[in-house]
């Protein structure tokens, strides 16, 4: 029942519409610049909201969230890597690239989770937004470290050192800049001025999300063609990993951070989600030996739809069950 109603929140329905449009081979075109524009708006908007909320709460409280975010950001990709290379036995370099995606987060999934909580009117803590911003980057570093270890073993000369340049790229990533920048502005901007820009970022937020998800549905659907290349065991990983991540997230959110149902569920979503915007180009550059057909299909074609349609209500139900 929860699950069904959640299927029917507009965000999910627009995602499904886009997925379907592509499936029936509609000639519907969604300009790439439009989805870039929408994602800029969404990142700034979620940052602003977060910053405004955070300015109200105890900054000390944020420390726990920061530590948890770093823990998850560095821990999850390592777990994913071992499952992939020892469990599923795919080559180390693809394992490292995929692991980086699952260690990082998907802002789209996070915002959809917030749309879910809003539509069933459940409150949530403001700290998870910081975690979203922090968790973007660490996994990228881990991914490269793992790839270099793998290359060393294989003894091929292509080690690309974790150069300052690469760390720079990971932390000056466009998404991170917009999220942190938005949070800072939300926290320090002069109130009257802020009140003048908020209608833009408030009134339109969920509507813009609906168009963004329409497009992401189309992109997810485009990946289906590569399911063959991915193979059953990896496809299974694309569903098992978010479930495992969510479990860890629930523990961290509830016992680690003492969040309520809303906040705990959001931490689960962060841990369960896989990046499909920031990490793919980073891994393409850092681990060219890895196949985008694998990591994009898993993160965008499997895990993202799974989280949006099944995961979010499921993690919410789990959070309720934990905190009853």
């Amino acid at each position: 029942m929860l699950s069904l109603s959640s299927m029917l929140i507009p965000a999910v329905l627009f995602f499904a519409l886009g997925f379907l449009a592509q499936l029936i081979r509609s000639d519907l075109k969604f300009p790439a610049d439009l989805s870039k524009a929408l994602s800029i708006y969404l990142l700034v908007g979620i940052g602003l909201h977060g910053g405004i909320e955070l300015a109200k709460v105890d900054p000390a409280g944020a420390i726990g969230a920061v530590v948890a975010a770093l823990g998850l950001g560095f821990g999850l990709p390592v777990i994913a890597y071992f499952i992939l290379s020892w469990g599923i036995r795919i080559d180390r370099l693809n394992a490292a690239a995929i692991a980086a995606h699952y260690g990082s987060v998907s802002a789209g999934t996070f915002i959809t989770a917030i749309a879910f909580l809003d539509s069933i009117q459940v409150p949530y803590e403001s700290y998870p937004v910081i975690m979203l911003a922090i968790m973007e980057s660490p996994a990228i570093i881990i991914g490269l470290v793992l790839a270099n270890l793998a290359r060393k073993e294989q003894g091929n000369g292509h080690e690309k050192r974790v150069s300052s340049e690469l760390v720079h790229d990971a932390f000056t990533n466009g998404s991170v800049v917009l999220l942190l920048g938005g949070m800072l502005i939300g926290a320090i901007a002069q109130p009257t001025g802020l009140s003048k820009i908020l209608p833009f970022y408030d009134t339109m937020f969920m509507g813009v999300l609906s168009l963004f998800l329409l497009n992401m549905g189309m992109e997810a659907s485009r990946r289906i063609g590569d399911f063959g290349k991915v193979g059953p065991s990896l496809l299974l990983f694309g569903i098992a990993m978010p479930l495992g991540g969510a479990a860890i997230g629930l523990v961290v959110g509830h016992w680690g951070l003492g969040f309520g149902v809303g906040g705990t569920m959001l931490v689960a979503v962060l841990a369960a989600s896989a990046s499909y915007i920031a990490v793919p180009p980073a891994m393409r550059l850092a681990i060219p030996e890895a196949s985008p057909a694998l990591f994009l299909t898993l993160s965008l074609g499997i895990t993202f739809p799974f989280n949006v349609i099944v995961g979010i209500p499921l993690y919410f139900a789990a959070a309720q069950w934990l905190i009853r």
Partner: protein, 97 residues
Amino acid sequence: MKPVKRIEIVIEEIELENVIDELDRIGVVGYTIVPRAGGRGERGVRYENLQGLGNVQLTIACSETQSIKVIEAIRPILKRYGGVCLVSDAMWVIHDS
């Protein structure tokens, strides 16, 4: 008009910066970029998208001697990341500005 080599390179958007660094290193000043390209090759289909995994088309007109340097600089990148590099002959209309 002076004879030049016309080098046409198709690479991923994200590699462009590296390629331009190479051109700077070997002292090639002029190039033209056509962004938002797509295509298909050994690595499957590519198109302009949110992740910036589309292609760019780079055209360089230069002397034969420079063209050899460019090719040597580009080859490892192509080997590592894929893409194509075509070289042909052309006449450059001189406008001695």
